[in-house]
């Protein structure tokens, strides 16, 4: 045991002072009474003002000495060594992601983690500091390098669970930024271990060690992992994927609703690990479909799923080509595109098309709007220099969202125009010899292919329709995308021409107004459910919808891993840790309060 305020021991002088007061004799006024024998023989010294008398045993004296002694003990703030090994700077990474809402521990995984963090805060020494980072889809510092326990407790207790995944990489990067070289720091991760994969950049290690404190025990969960509405020639149907992630057979029922009207309830029995697909016809006038699982399991976030049933507004696309079945088919894969194909001779500039695709043809005047130019004829404004033979094809930036899921490993190009001197835009796909595909945002989103698709095996690869899909969605983003998003995923909303107001109504009924002048990114999507976008156009309100669902197998699995692969420690400094301190003075002060109360009662009862 050690003491945080040993100087307070001087207060122990109050004990002999109390004792001395009892040695003093009371000056009592004389009162004449008719019959002394009726008065009880009880004397308690309450005041001392004349010296001296023999010390009498007294409960009050005992209680006062005891209270004073206990108060002095509390004042010196004794501390006991605690179990935790603390560094001078403790960095707490508190997982506040969706899976921490699981209730396999009481009250929840996040609640249990908070309890553990609060216990750690109580063990901080007077010189120790702590930083608390809430880990969700983004990392957020809720308390920065402070030793103030009240601040830390408030910060921890103020953390609420989000519906997004845990981006541990962002949190570790943030923590690393807080630690200077040579700092005595240590990180404590309170998590169920269900985090997004760590980025490769951490392979070099962190400047502090990370301790993983596992929270949660169970993975018994049945969840909905996919819900889509597909429109066929005759009808529409909702496709639902239900999976039992636990180790026990579960009987559940699925409740279907369209625009909150009950359609069907289906019982379902799922073996351990079993998944099942359900199909339900959707009424033609339905706006949204909701599936709800009456599972009553430890995780409610994946027990409901919502999908938008309305088909998005179609765009008209003009393909000007002498004949390119690859390009035409790739464009037609997108259901909200209405593709018209014409020969180059028939081309007339028209404002009715939202996107124009020129295949080996360049008009005298390029349209004011998005277009995709493939292999512009020599001599045209966008044409490059003489074609060159192409070797290996590669992505300029593999992380570019325009190349998401585009595999260029087996793609070959025979030859391409030399676009090295082109000022069209930034290269998207390139080779050792020349950039092959250029893209630009201004004045409109436009794409330039430097090679003839027929002189490449790209159209024969699965990468091609995906690339065309990515590029067309980039150039022609739907006003409001109707597919499902993950919680906290940003949603791009393009205001309709003439829209005077754009408002997003969240599932909880709250409204957010967006700017109408430009493409807006709406990121307030932490809640799952149906979002309604209202746009006022010429006095009329036009509504469109998108949905946010968990739809994450890694999160729905819920089972906390026993071990979590964490980055190694990259530091040569000796990690000097010291045991945490458990302050016990509040309990001693409570005992003192109890004794003082007893003394007060004893005084007033005349003991």
């Amino acid at each position: 045991m050690s003491f945080l305020a040993p100087a307070a021991a001087v207060l122990a002088l109050t004990l002999p002072a109390i004792l001395a007061l009892y040695f003093l004799k009371i000056r009592r006024p004389t009162r004449i009474v008719p019959a002394l024998h009726l008065w009880p023989d009880q004397i308690r010294d309450r005041q001392a003002n004349v010296p001296w008398q023999r010390l009498r045993p007294s409960w009050l004296l005992f209680l006062q000495l005891l209270a004073a002694g206990v108060l002095v003990a509390a004042a010196v703030q004794p501390v006991l060594p605690a179990r935790a090994a603390l560094a001078r700077h403790s960095i707490v990474l508190l997982d506040a992601s969706a899976s921490m809402q699981a209730t396999d521990v009481t009250p929840s995984r996040l609640g249990d983690a908070k309890r553990q963090v609060n216990a750690l805060i109580d063990q901080l020494g007077p010189q120790d500091r702590m930083t608390i980072i809430a880990v969700a889809s983004s990392a957020r510092i809720v308390a920065s390098a402070t030793g103030d326990r009240d601040t830390l407790h408030r910060a921890v207790n103020g953390v609420i669970a989000s519906n997004g995944a845990a981006d541990l990489s962002a949190a570790l990067a943030m923590a690393a930024g807080l630690v200077r070289a040579g700092d005595d720091a240590r990180a404590y991760l309170f998590s169920d271990g269900i985090v997004q994969p760590l980025r490769a950049s951490f392979a070099a290690g962190l400047p502090f060690p990370v301790e993983y404190h596992r929270v949660g025990v169970s993975g018994e969960n049945v969840g909905l992992t996919s819900l889509t509405v597909r429109t066929g020639a005759q009808s529409r149907a909702a496709y639902l994927h239900v999976q039992n992630f636990g180790q026990q057979t579960r009987s559940v029922s699925v409740e279907w609703r369209a625009d909150n009207h009950l359609l069907d309830v289906r019982p379902l029995s799922l073996q351990a690990g079993q998944a099942q697909d359900l199909v339900l016809p959707v009424p033609s006038d339905a706006t949204s479909v909701t599936a709800r699982l009456a599972a009553g399991d430890i995780f409610g976030l994946d027990d409901a799923a919502t999908a938008v049933a309305r088909t998005p507004r179609a765009f008209r696309v003009l393909l000007v080509t002498a004949g390119n079945v690859f390009l035409e088919q790739a464009l037609r894969l997108r259901t909200d595109l209405q593709v018209d194909v014409i020969a180059s001779a028939a081309y007339r500039p028209s404002a009715t098309y939202a996107l124009t695709v020129f295949d080996r043809f360049s008009p005298p005047v390029m349209p004011d709007g998005p277009y995709l130019m493939v292999d512009p004829p020599a001599g045209s404004a966008l044409a490059g220099r003489q074609p060159v033979g192409i070797g290996r094809v590669r992505a300029v930036d593999a992380g570019d969202p325009l190349l998401a899921n585009v595999d260029l490993q087996d793609v070959h190009v025979a030859r391409s125009q030399d676009l090295r001197n082109s000022t069209f835009g930034r290269p998207l796909i390139s080779s050792l010899q020349t950039p092959l595909v250029l893209v630009r945002d201004e004045p409109f989103r436009q794409v330039l292919f430097g090679f003839d698709l027929h002189e490449s095996d790209l159209p024969l690869r699965i990468a091609f329709p995906i690339l065309v899909q990515n590029l067309s969605e980039w150039m022609l983003p739907p006003s409001v995308p109707s597919h499902s998003f993950h919680p906290a995923e940003p949603v791009t909303i393009v205001p309709e021409p003439g829209a005077t107001t754009v408002t997003v109504i969240r599932p909880d009924g709250s409204r957010r107004s967006l700017a109408t002048a430009s493409i807006a990114t709406f990121a307030d999507t932490d809640l799952t459910g149906l979002y309604t976008v209202e746009q006022s156009i010429a006095g009329k309100v036009q509504r469109s919808w998108f949905s946010v669902n968990l739809f994450s197998d890694p999160i729905s699995q819920l089972k906390p891993p026993d071990r979590l692969t964490l980055p190694p420690t990259r530091t040569t400094a000796v990690q000097a840790t010291h045991p945490g301190q458990l302050e016990i003075w509040p309990w001693i002060a409570l005992a003192a309060l109890t004794i003082v109360t007893a003394e007060w009662l004893a005084f007033h009862r005349g003991l």
Binding site: I26, R28, P29, T30, V33, A35, H37, Q42, I43
Partner: protein, 291 residues
């Protein structure tokens, strides 16, 4: 002098009261009380044969004419009531506000005046460590002033000793006795009450206490000094010790009341805070001493 002890208005109200006796009394002089003896009054009691020496004025001549025998008409004798007042003037009575001794004097004076107004004979005895006679018996309303003066002349002081009352009580003829005391003397009051019973005294024990000793009006530390013995003791008045004192006082009162009832005597606990008028008109009527 009488006005100094009791107000004239109170005296006038007292004249309408009378001492209530449960049985007939025998006094030395005629009065307004029914006597055990046959005597001169208008109320016929019985006949008996004439024996020489009887007052021949009492011979019923009509009976003689019918029976040819001398028969005496006997009438209920109306005699005085011997009222004995025993008044505690010990040191403990000189205490409280209003003062217990002063109130006891006034109370005794009031009861005595009721008796004097009814031509009863009043004998006064004050006591502390021992009994002191209050002089020759008083009789008639004219004696009231003398009695009141005598009452006021007795000093207070000394230690209560009820046993010393046994002898003077035993000398009394059967009648009525009223003992006024705070009942706080350390020895038991029972010997005196037993003596009253043996002397065929009916009457009452009136315990007179000051309001300050019924409910304590102080707390804290004090050195207590006994008003009679002068003994001292250190004391701390707390709710607990105050409750203990009140319990002891109540216990003492209960003991006196039980002893009084056991001896066929009436009992009342009076507070000096009560006006004399209220004591006499209400409390003493309630216990059946006055009517």
């Amino acid at each position: 002098m009488a006005a100094a002890l009791l107000e004239p208005a109170l005296l006038r109200r007292l004249e309408s009261l009378a001492l209530l006796v449960r049985r007939a009394v025998s006094g030395q002089m005629g009065g307004e009380r029914r006597s055990r003896r046959r005597g001169q009054s208008v109320e016929f009691a019985d006949f008996r044969n004439y024996t020489p020496g009887d007052d021949f004025r009492l011979i019923d001549w009509n009976a003689y004419a019918r029976l040819d025998r001398f028969m005496l008409r006997l009438f209920v004798a109306e005699e005085e009531l011997p009222l004995n007042l025993f008044l505690d003037m010990s040191g403990s009575m000189d205490w409280g506000t209003p003062n217990k001794a002063a109130t006891a004097r006034r109370l005794a004076g009031a009861i005595a005046y009721v008796a004097l107004a009814a031509l009863d004979r009043v004998r006064l005895t004050v006591f502390a460590e021992g009994p002191t006679s209050g002089g020759a018996p008083y009789r008639g309303r004219r004696a009231a002033a003398e009695l009141f003066a005598r009452l006021q002349s007795f000093p207070t002081g000394g230690v209560t000793n009820y046993e010393k009352l046994v002898w003077p009580i035993g000398r009394q003829r059967p009648g009525m006795s009223v003992l006024i005391s705070d009942g706080l003397g350390q020895p038991s009051i029972d010997p005196a009450l037993m003596a009253l019973q043996r002397a065929q005294q009916e009457g009452a024990v009136l315990q007179l206490l000051a309001p300050q000793e019924i409910a304590l009006d102080w707390s804290g530390d004090a050195r207590l000094k006994d008003a009679e013995t002068g003994l001292e003791r250190e004391f701390t008045a707390t709710p607990l010790t105050q409750a203990s004192y009140v319990r002891a006082l109540t216990q003492r009162t209960d003991e006196i009341e039980r002893a009084a009832h056991r001896r066929g005597l009436r009992f009342a606990r009076l507070s000096t805070a009560e006006p004399i008028d209220q004591m006499v008109q209400i409390t003493l009527r309630q216990i059946g001493l006055l009517g």
